[in-house]
């Protein structure tokens, strides 16, 4: 063994010079204070976390402290943080980074997160951890000693990439790391090439599709730890379930990955109260809906399903799409039918759902988030609420970062309602609000889970109320009854639905449902097909017995 010794030569030379020049020298008080502050900031022990003492304004949860300690002490600063959504992976990562900074082991760090989260990360690191993180804007700061937060897309642009790859990073963090599961992508290549000492990968879904996902993630942290690719597949196969079923593999992975699940944390999570709100169309609306269904049946176009779906949301949404279609200069089989239907829409009263929203909200001061699938419905709702003296702000995934933050603030401080067209996916945290109206349901259950995750997360102090709107005697009734109720999506706290859908090779749920509606000759046929789809899913759910992650940890 060989231990290097680095000596300090600079000091004595400088002191000598100062003596020759007769100063300047410090006085005794400052000399002593300087010594005392070094005593106070030194790291006395190899082990243990010192960061929490530096952060008295924060209350950390037991599993977060344990996770940070495990990563630092047992995994030597390279690991996968794979807690379920909402357990505070950001907090754990901040704690680890802070610990290394206090110990003087990290000075230069690169934090790669989705573009929409850059600001949030910068704020949290600064406010919660006093870590002076910067976001990479126009002025490149790559070559300085600092903590930079940026998106992987920005970082790998040609003008940045070369200089970033030259840097020696003490610490690299990648959020939403499951996006790196494919080792043939540019992103994967890029992250592999970074020069890095410590490295954290954050993901709630360490294996999404194939068992090799985990092999690829681990190979970023510890190349060779799971052997090479051939060894790995020979030994463990390709089935993603083996991660939890194969005791040997699980034991190996537990040395590079921390995964907490809600039930392991011993925290009382607030409840989800889910209520289906059934709405009847008015007579005029129902007649119009039936008429549109009839017209669409004759149309060969795939999107004709969309028009009826839109009519369940608002007259405006349907009108806009029809108008757009008719304005196209091409042959449309039942153009005249559609044209006369436009006139009919104009005669319709206010939408039954919009009335229901007003009814639900008007007598309370509580804040609500309303999600709709359509931009036109969003505008309409905003106008309609205003007519009833209810203040609201809009929110769209396409908003720039600053505007998102601003809208969130307006909602928190001034408006009663936020009307969103998209979960903004990984966009914003709205846990100060605990009521959500799903004005119309997405046909992709994962998007619903993301919507709910905006408010039902750690930090939510009240029970969460979710109102799902559905109109009787329409396609919405089918989707809600046959799909959502059956797979019990609303009751599940965190779905592992994405992996189940991947197992079943259902890539796009939305298309699946669209096809069912489109290709069914009758209502009854559509119903049967939907029922089959949900049976398959709920069967897979039962089969995919809950992963038993921590089970063997105690015994191993």
């Amino acid at each position: 063994m060989n231990i290097q010794l680095k000596r300090d030569q600079e000091f004595i030379d400088e002191l000598n010079t100062k003596l020759e020049n007769d100063g300047p020298f410090t006085n005794w008080n400052l000399f002593k204070m300087s010594y005392d502050s070094s005593l106070a900031t030194m790291t006395k022990e190899f082990k243990g976390l010192t960061a929490p003492n530096h952060l008295p304004h924060m209350t950390f949860l037991e599993h977060q402290l344990e996770c940070a300690q495990q990563i630092v002490e047992e995994m030597n600063g390279r690991g996968i943080l794979a807690d379920e959504v909402g357990l505070g992976k950001t907090i754990e990562a901040g704690l680890i980074l802070k610990e290394y900074m206090i110990r003087g082991l990290v000075k230069k760090a690169l934090i790669l997160v989705p573009a929409s989260l850059v600001n949030q990360w910068v704020n949290e690191l600064n406010q919660k951890f006093y870590i002076p993180a910067l976001s990479q804007r126009k002025r490149p700061v790559w070559d300085q000693e600092n903590i930079v937060v940026t998106s992987i897309d920005t970082a790998k642009r040609q003008q940045h990439k070369d200089i970033i790859l030259e840097q020696d990073y003490d610490f690299v963090l990648i959020d939403e790391a499951h996006k790196l599961k494919n080792h043939k992508t540019k992103n994967y290549e890029f992250v592999r090439s970074l020069k890095k000492k410590y490295c954290l990968l954050l993901t709630a879904t360490p294996v999404q599709n194939k068992l090799s996902d985990i092999f690829n993630l681990v190979s970023i942290l510890k190349p060779g730890y799971l052997g090479n690719y051939e060894d790995f597949t020979n030994q463990f196969g390709k089935d993603r379930k083996n991660l939890f079923n194969d005791a040997h593999l699980k034991q190996l992975i537990q040395k590079v990955m921390v995964r907490n699940r809600r039930q392991d944390t011993g925290i009382d999570w607030t409840k989800r109260k889910v209520e289906t709100v059934w709405i009847d169309f008015t007579k005029e609306e129902q007649e119009a809906y039936d008429e549109l269904t009839r017209i669409s049946k004759d149309s060969a176009s795939f999107s004709s399903i969309t028009y009826t779906r839109e009519l369940c949301s608002s007259r405006e949404a349907c009108y806009m799409s029809l108008k757009k279609m008719l304005n196209q200069d091409k042959e449309i089989v039942n153009r005249t039918d559609y044209e006369s239907f436009l006139g009919r829409i104009e005669q319709l009263p206010h939408h039954a759902k919009a009335d229901k929203v007003v009814e639900l909200i008007k007598d309370t001061d509580e804040k609500f988030i309303i999600f709709t699938e359509y931009r036109a419905s969003q505008l309409y709702l905003q106008w309609y609420l205003q007519q009833h003296g209810i203040s609201s702000v809009p929110f769209r995934g396409g908003f720039k970062r600053g505007k998102k933050d601003w809208m969130r603030q307006l909602f928190q401080n001034h408006a009663q309602v936020l009307i969103a067209t998209e979960a903004g996916g990984e966009g914003i945290n709205l846990q100060f609000c605990n009521n959500m109206i799903n004005y119309d349901l997405p046909w992709n259950p994962m998007r619903l889970e993301q919507r709910i995750g905006r408010i039902h997360r750690f930090g939510q102090e009240s029970d969460v109320n979710i109102y799902n709107f559905a109109i009787r005697n329409t396609m919405e009734e089918h989707v809600l009854n046959l799909l959502y109720e059956k797979i019990q999506l609303f009751e599940r706290v965190v779905g592992n639905l994405d992996s189940i859908l991947a197992d079943l090779n259902i890539g796009n749920m939305e298309e699946e449902i669209q096809t069912i509606f489109k290709e069914s000759a009758t209502d009854g046929e559509a119903r049967i097909k939907l029922e089959n789809l949900s049976s398959v899913i709920s069967f897979a759910q039962q089969n995919n017995s809950e992963e038993d992650w921590n089970g063997t940890r105690e015994s191993s």
Partner: protein, 268 residues
């Protein structure tokens, strides 16, 4: 922890930097900064640049600090052991308080000879898989080469001042400053050799294991240059992470002239 009382530490700091204390009670400290301290602490370089350019007198700020957690909701900046302000002050101190030359006070009218001492406060950092620091304060008498450990504790017991007292005179060192420093380093090297370095052995073993894993991972990749580069880089990453090393860095130090009496007491 050396800073048991953060409030007193802050107070001393501002006094030592010639700032006027406007209010000081029950965990609240209200300070009138000087121009210099405003520039150092308040992070408004453009203001000072502007003021200086126009030749106006600057208006340094007054600041309130709250050290009592029960009053943290009140107006003022809550400072605690982890707050950025404290660490900013620590950083200013590492620069401000680094080099010194001090003389022991002498209130008599007797002519007193002062003996030269080189004082070095050294931080030793042990870095392997994990990291730990140790601080050693050493004094070396520059006439006879005697060495004293825990020197700061001794210096705390006497009064020191920046200029020499009227009736005192200094003795010329026999040991040159640099060779004095060498003796201190040699002492520390012996000290390190006598220790048990289990931490380093552990880290070293880990380093070898990780290197083997990496070689296995790349064994079938042939002579592809790209793989070769990546292999080298990852090998490098592993070494940076686990190669054990010890670093000596001087926190601060200087030349201290102490009375014969004090010097002799240090060895009883």
């Amino acid at each position: 922890m050396a800073l048991e009382n953060l409030h007193d530490f802050m107070t001393d700091y501002f006094i030592a930097n010639q700032c006027e204390i406007l209010e000081n009670e029950n965990g609240k400290l209200h300070v009138q900064l000087t121009d210099k301290m405003d520039e150092i602490l308040m992070n408004r370089p453009f203001y000072w640049q502007y003021v200086k350019k126009l030749g106006y007198p600057g208006e340094p700020m007054t600041v309130s600090f709250i050290t009592n957690p029960e009053r943290r909701e009140e107006e003022g900046e809550w400072v605690h052991f982890g707050s950025p302000r404290i660490h900013q002050i620590f950083r200013t101190l590492t620069n401000q308080g680094k080099y010194t030359r001090l003389f022991e006070e002498n209130n008599t009218s007797q002519r007193t000879a002062l003996v030269p001492w080189l004082v070095i406060n050294m931080k030793i950092s042990y870095t392997g898989k994990h990291k730990r620091d140790e601080i050693i304060s050493i004094g070396l008498q520059l006439i006879n080469g005697a060495m004293k450990i825990d020197m700061m504790d001794e210096l705390n017991k006497i009064s020191l001042q920046s200029s020499i007292a009227d009736f005192s005179y200094t003795m010329t060192p026999i040991i040159r400053l640099k060779s004095g420093y060498q003796r201190i380093i040699q002492y520390l090297e012996r000290y390190l050799q006598q220790q048990n370095h289990e931490w380093a052995q552990e880290s070293w073993n880990h380093l070898q294991e990780e290197k083997q894993l990496l070689s296995h991972f790349y064994q079938n990749s042939g002579d592809d240059e790209e793989y070769e580069n990546r292999f080298d880089q990852e090998m490098n990453d592993i070494e940076n992470r686990f190669q054990p090393f010890i670093e000596l860095s001087v926190i601060n130090g200087g030349l201290f002239y102490l009375s014969q009496l004090t010097s002799n007491k240090l060895f009883i």
